[in-house]
């Protein structure tokens, strides 16, 4: 009987030692830094997931290969110098756009694959589902294109986001609309309708817009939530037409946006302004398709960067060439740019930590102070507030011109550089049909 406490104590010591051994990984032993890439590669959000995967592969390429002229973190040299040249390895998992599967896969990545960092899931809704899992295991996690403000407002210890949240970006749109009046824009824009889908991302945008619209001098005349995956929006367009708002604030995914365009064209309805926030407006394939129909001309929306000006940056061009190796020749869209920026920050953090121990990574992450010259995007830098939100992430407002490209129209200093005359009012359907199409 006297042996029992002895055996228990020895067992406890062994267990404690085991836990310590599993958590502390000396830098010298690290050959590969394992980053879990949990993405929606199939299912409803697959088009987003594939852009994030290409972005991840681009960062893996940049870190593991030598790009001497590339002025982004870990561009020159191979691997992580802070970890003796260890390489970056992505462990990619597809959650089929399902939150329940994402949760299971997050657990597997942490307990079976022993990842050092989890990046994902790419959509705010599913990210919010896996956050508690990652938090309970205590390893760093990031989702850079996720824009829901709630993700960083929960007081989580292990979650970071370099990209701007919806509050920042939707505020950009309403600040533009408010200040535009003082800058020679129209003074007769009084009413607004909100037209959003029903998931977390869209509803966050809707709530923020509903709060900001009256402050910007708009009366909300209609607030419509539609079903994600709708097959028709004809009745919704009827209601919008009846309400006849000056401004339509639309947050919809590409399939629903194209259905809206078809139904609005059929009804012959076009508001004076269509303002958007992410969704189709961030989707490169939707933007490219508009060049064949002039469908996007005059649409304005928030972006995390002045995409027409950023292309002048040499580092942007080089990173884009690497990205195109994986994307079957597609240029980086703004979602890919957000993801690459965030993952390069992650690589820099791992390198500065000189360890893959979670506490060291967290410390390095919190100490981040990255200047704009290291970024491919128009943030003022990367520095985190106490919620782990990048407080230097900024938003801009762009508008699609007759050339089918986005042009910066706010903030005013960048707009001046972009030298683009705002299209107002939004062109009618007949004008879109008769004008030459950029892609034809």
């Amino acid at each position: 009987m006297r042996r029992v406490p002895l055996v228990l104590s020895a067992g406890a010591c062994l267990l404690f030692a085991g836990v310590l051994a599993s958590q502390t990984v000396p830098a010298a032993n690290v050959q590969e830094v394992l980053v879990g890439e949990l993405l929606p590669l199939t299912g409803n959000f697959a088009s987003l997931g594939q852009q994030y995967l290409w972005a991840g592969q681009t960062v893996e390429d940049i870190v593991n290969n030598d790009y001497p002229d590339l002025t982004v973190p870990l561009g020159p040299g191979k691997g992580f110098p802070g970890l003796g040249g260890a390489t970056l390895k992505l462990v990619v998992r597809d959650d089929q756009s399902r939150g329940d599967l994402a949760r299971t896969l997050a657990e597997q990545l942490i307990t079976v694959n022993k990842i050092h960092w989890l990046n994902g899931e790419g959509t705010s809704g599913n990210t919010s589902i896996i956050q508690p899992v990652v938090e309970s295991f205590g390893i760093p996690m990031s989702c850079h294109p996720c824009a829901s403000p709630t993700l960083t407002e929960k007081g989580l210890q292990w979650f970071w986001r370099t990209g701007p949240n919806d509050k920042t970006m939707v505020a950009s749109v309403f600040t533009f609309l408010r200040e535009w009046r003082e800058q020679g824009g129209p003074t007769d824009l009084k009413t607004i309708a909100l037209f959003t889908c029903d998931n977390l991302f869209c509803q966050d945008n809707r709530k923020i817009a509903a709060e900001l619209a009256p402050k910007a001098g708009f009366q909300v005349v209609l607030d419509l939530t539609t079903k994600t995956g709708a097959t028709t929006l004809a009745s919704e367009v009827q209601r919008l037409q009846a309400a006849n708002p000056d401004v339509l604030f639309l947050v919809q995914y590409p399939p629903e946006t194209s259905i809206f365009q078809g139904d609005a064209k059929r009804a012959g309805w076009m508001p004076k302004i269509i303002a958007t926030s992410n969704g189709a407006y961030s989707d490169q394939t939707w933007l490219e398709a508009q060049k064949k129909t002039n469908g996007g001309a005059g649409w304005l929306g928030r972006d995390p960067t002045a995409i027409d000006l950023v292309q002048d940056r040499p580092s942007w061009k080089k990173v884009n060439e690497i990205y195109k190796k994986y994307s079957r020749g597609q240029n980086m869209g703004e979602l890919a740019m957000r993801e690459i920026t965030g993952m390069l920050w992650m690589a820099d953090t791992i390198n500065r930590a000189k360890s893959v121990e979670p506490a060291a990574l967290a410390k390095a992450a919190s100490e981040t102070n990255m200047g704009p010259e290291q970024l491919i995007i128009d943030y003022k830098g990367v520095r985190f507030d106490k919620t782990h939100q990048n407080e230097l992430a900024a938003g801009v407002v762009t508008q699609v011109g007759w050339d089918g490209e986005k042009h910066t129209i706010w903030p005013w200093d960048l707009a001046k550089r972009a030298n683009f005359k705002v299209l107002y009012p939004s062109p009618g359907w007949q004008e879109r049909d008769t004008k030459p199409k950029p892609a034809n």
């Binding site: 590669l41 697959a46 009745s235 209601r239 399939p255 194209s258 059929r266 079957r328 359907w429």
Partner: protein, 290 residues
């Protein structure tokens, strides 16, 4: 009043498109009583086929329905012979899981080949007509969808004549009703089932080729249509072609009218609520027989 009338017309137009999607399922599920959860993926393949023929050879989707329909007929027969014939001998649950597996196989194959990008058709006959309307009593009727609706009507009429007025159709019905009895009068059930799968796949692919004019084409596009198609076939009554058409129109109108007066996010909930209500009174569907 005009608002309501316009909503009804919009609903009828969409109803015809839904009917187009449901018609293939009427044969496989409604008539032959085989479950096919990959129905939406056949639709997706039809859409991709039309898109690919349009961007590669400049073929208009209205012309592409011929090669797409033929190719999908062959695929439907192949799927029956290689997969469903064996699965058919087992438990009905085996059919469910086999076709769910087929769903993922086809969807993920499309992701691998085409990526998950959204594709759009432009410069086709129907997209060039977008925005063209007929005006009747203050209500506008979209010309492109009207053409789609007419095509749906033609397909339904052809299918009705084939199933109800030909020896082949009667053989198909006999096989569905009693396989052994059909064999006694010289009908080969395996052949009938294979043809039914071929026809079902071809019809929904033709629907896909037409729908590609109105909707974005991407690997997951089939799901919302499949859910509605199942409700439509059950609502119309299993095996009833006329019932399927009327149920599709009803679903379109319910969606459209409720979205005008109530929260549009719940439009499908109203459709399924209608299905439950009708199911309580007529469990066999509107035109079905026990």
């Amino acid at each position: 009043m005009t608002l309501l009338l316009q909503a009804v017309v919009n609903g009828l137009e969409m109803g015809f498109l839904y009917a187009l999607v449901a018609v293939g399922l009427t044969i496989i599920w409604g008539l032959m009583e085989m479950i096919n959860f990959a129905h939406g993926e056949f639709l997706m393949l039809g859409m991709f086929g039309a898109w690919w023929l349009s961007v590669t050879f400049g073929l208009d989707p209205l012309v592409a329905i011929v090669p797409v329909g033929l190719a999908m007929y062959a695929l439907g027969v192949l799927i029956y012979r290689q997969l469903m014939r064996r699965v058919q001998q087992g438990d009905p649950f085996t059919q469910i899981f086999a076709t769910i597996g087929l769903l993922f196989l086809l969807q993920n194959s499309a992701v691998a080949v085409f990526t998950s990008d959204y594709r759009y058709l432009s410069n086709t006959v129907l997209t060039r007509l977008s925005g063209a309307n007929l005006h009747v009593l203050g209500v506008s009727v979209g010309v492109p969808i009207l053409i789609g609706a007419l095509l749906a009507l033609v397909l339904f009429l052809a299918l009705y004549l084939l199933i109800d007025r030909t020896e082949f159709g009667l053989a198909l019905q006999a096989t569905a009703e009693d396989r052994e009895a059909a064999m006694l009068v010289g009908i080969r059930p395996q052949k009938m089932f294979a043809v039914a799968w071929g026809l079902g796949a071809a019809l929904v692919a033709v629907a896909g080729a037409i729908l590609a004019n109105f909707f974005a084409v991407f690997p997951q596009v089939g799901f919302p249509f499949t859910v509605l198609a199942y409700a439509i076939v059950a609502l119309g009554g299993f095996g009833s072609i006329l019932g399927t058409l009327l149920a599709a129109l009803l679903v379109g109108v319910v969606q459209s009218v409720t979205s005008v007066y109530l929260e549009p996010a719940f439009k499908d909930a109203f459709v399924f609520a209608s299905y439950i209500l009708i199911g309580l009174c007529r469990p066999q569907g509107l035109f079905g027989r026990f």
